[in-house]
Symmetry: C2
Subunit: 299 residues, 2 copies
């Protein structure tokens, strides 16, 4: 089994109440890939500039992430500068420089096209569709998106939705996409647009999984210390997709466990800046935190 991950690779400057970290590793595809590497073989598709530090490539290779699909172009790596409110309830983007990511046009290496599982992080929906069409027999294709595309590219978005099996977006995006505030009705509407399953990411309130008429709800792990929430949602997707590819099944029971691994992994990501907390965690740590989730919710 292997999982192809397509999306941004970035350098982030992150400001929190207590600390500022400059040009640290970020980007949705990095968070997804590193998380999924705990569970399965990962093939990364993205683009970096000539300024991208060699140490990050070494870290990814060291975790077994295949970088044949990571293009290095002339120019600067995608850069994001953000500041979190003291209580992390909101964040402000101070600067976004797309750099080489502005011309990202993902073409998969031939070996990638045979993969069983594909995760499309948040990029233009037309590019997401373009990638879907390159896969020869993917059994599970999942995608993320955001308000910008839902509002600005509705036609391309609907086309993409027709090509994917699982959509992983946040609660406000579900409401926006469906034009409906009630979450159950909104989720049902999204499930008529193409995906067989929908994960609603609710941050500190956990996640909902809609599959047919079944609903699964999992709270987040209550954490006494959050250092940097950047990448939590992508980590969630990486844990879920990595787990599902690793166990080679997509039945609802496995998807529930996948949601639990995604939730567990996200709790490590937010415990430190960049991918530091996630990289320190072992598979055993993830298993233990999934057990914590069982204890948290059992009655």
């Amino acid at each position: 089994m292997s999982l192809v991950v397509v999306g941004s690779v970035a350098l982030d400057t992150v400001e929190t109440r207590t600390e500022t970290r400059e040009r640290i590793l970020g980007g949705a595809a990095c968070f997804v890939s590193v998380t999924a590497s705990h569970f399965t073989d990962v093939k990364l598709v993205g683009v970096i500039g000539q300024d991208f530090p060699r140490e990050h490539l070494q870290m990814l290779e060291g975790r077994g992430v295949d970088l044949e699909g990571l293009e290095c172009s002339e120019g600067q790596t995608f850069f994001w500068h953000g500041r979190y409110a003291d209580d992390f309830s909101t964040r402000t983007s101070l600067s976004t420089e797309l750099g080489v990511f502005a011309d990202f046009h993902p073409d998969l290496p031939p070996a990638y096209r045979e993969a069983q599982t594909l995760f499309l992080a948040n990029i233009h929906p037309a590019l997401q569709s373009h990638v879907c069409r390159q896969m020869s027999h993917a059994r599970l294709i999942a995608a993320d998106t955001m308000d910008f595309w839902i509002e600005g590219e509705p036609k391309a978005l609907r086309e993409m939705l027709g090509l994917v099996h699982l959509l992983t977006i946040n609660d406000e995006e579900v409401r926006l996409l469906a034009g409906e505030h009630n979450m159950v009705k909104a989720a049902r509407a999204v499930l008529t647009m193409g995906p067989r399953a929908l994960v609603v990411k609710r941050g500190e309130h956990g996640a909902l999984l809609f599959t047919g008429d079944e609903i699964f709800a999992l709270p987040a792990l209550p954490l006494s210390r959050v250092v940097d929430p950047t990448g939590a949602g992508d980590t969630f997707a990486g844990g879920m997709m990595g787990y599902l590819d690793g166990v080679d099944t997509v039945d609802p029971a496995s998807m529930r466990i996948g949601v639990a691994y995604g939730t567990a992994a996200a709790s490590f990501t937010v415990s430190d800046f960049s991918l530091d907390g996630l990289c320190r965690a072992t598979r055993t740590d993830l298993d233990e935190r999934v057990e914590n989730l069982r204890r948290l919710t059992r009655f």
Copy 2:
């Protein structure tokens, strides 16, 4: 076993996007009492005016609620008029007329003072303490409160907290009381103020139960139809307290099941105006909805 419930009995005019209902039965003590009557004997302490419709008294008596502690005074019953936003995300109080509730001074009938369990709905914390001192050997005393008392009566509030075992408030109230945004830290701070256990009500996101170092998290049941959310939090408390008094234990495992019954009961309350949905539900319906919660969260 029996449960004494102290709090407001009210007539509410409720406006939603689709409908307005005038002078329907409301008040925290009514929601708590009717819910708890599914599980145990309930003794209600409150005050009504001469305008209070006889049919509501008959309904309460019909459910076995002891009304010896319900005083009828000269004047008007507590009246609240509120309007919900179209999506129920906010509500506006258009009118609050305290009426006879302004002079509410709860003195328990002698038979009530022997009860094992007491629930203090949201009233002035000095009155809550006054009631606590009348109980001869209560094993479980729980209280609700609100931002108005947390900010305006901090001394009386802290005194009350020293007399109760369980506090049931919402997430913003926990943060305000603790002066801390992080929920785990805030909850731990509240548990140093007196209560042995804290329930954090999070509306559509469910509830958290903190007991010592243990945390229990339960999502709300995702509902495709909400008619009137008034009384959902009080219903939650009534289900939890009624269940705990009925099973005559207060260990953490029972408290978790109590949270589940509170959550199940609230899903009936919001399905209709006033106590209509709650009154139609049977104990079997509540049991089934608790099973739904198990299926919702199992992985």
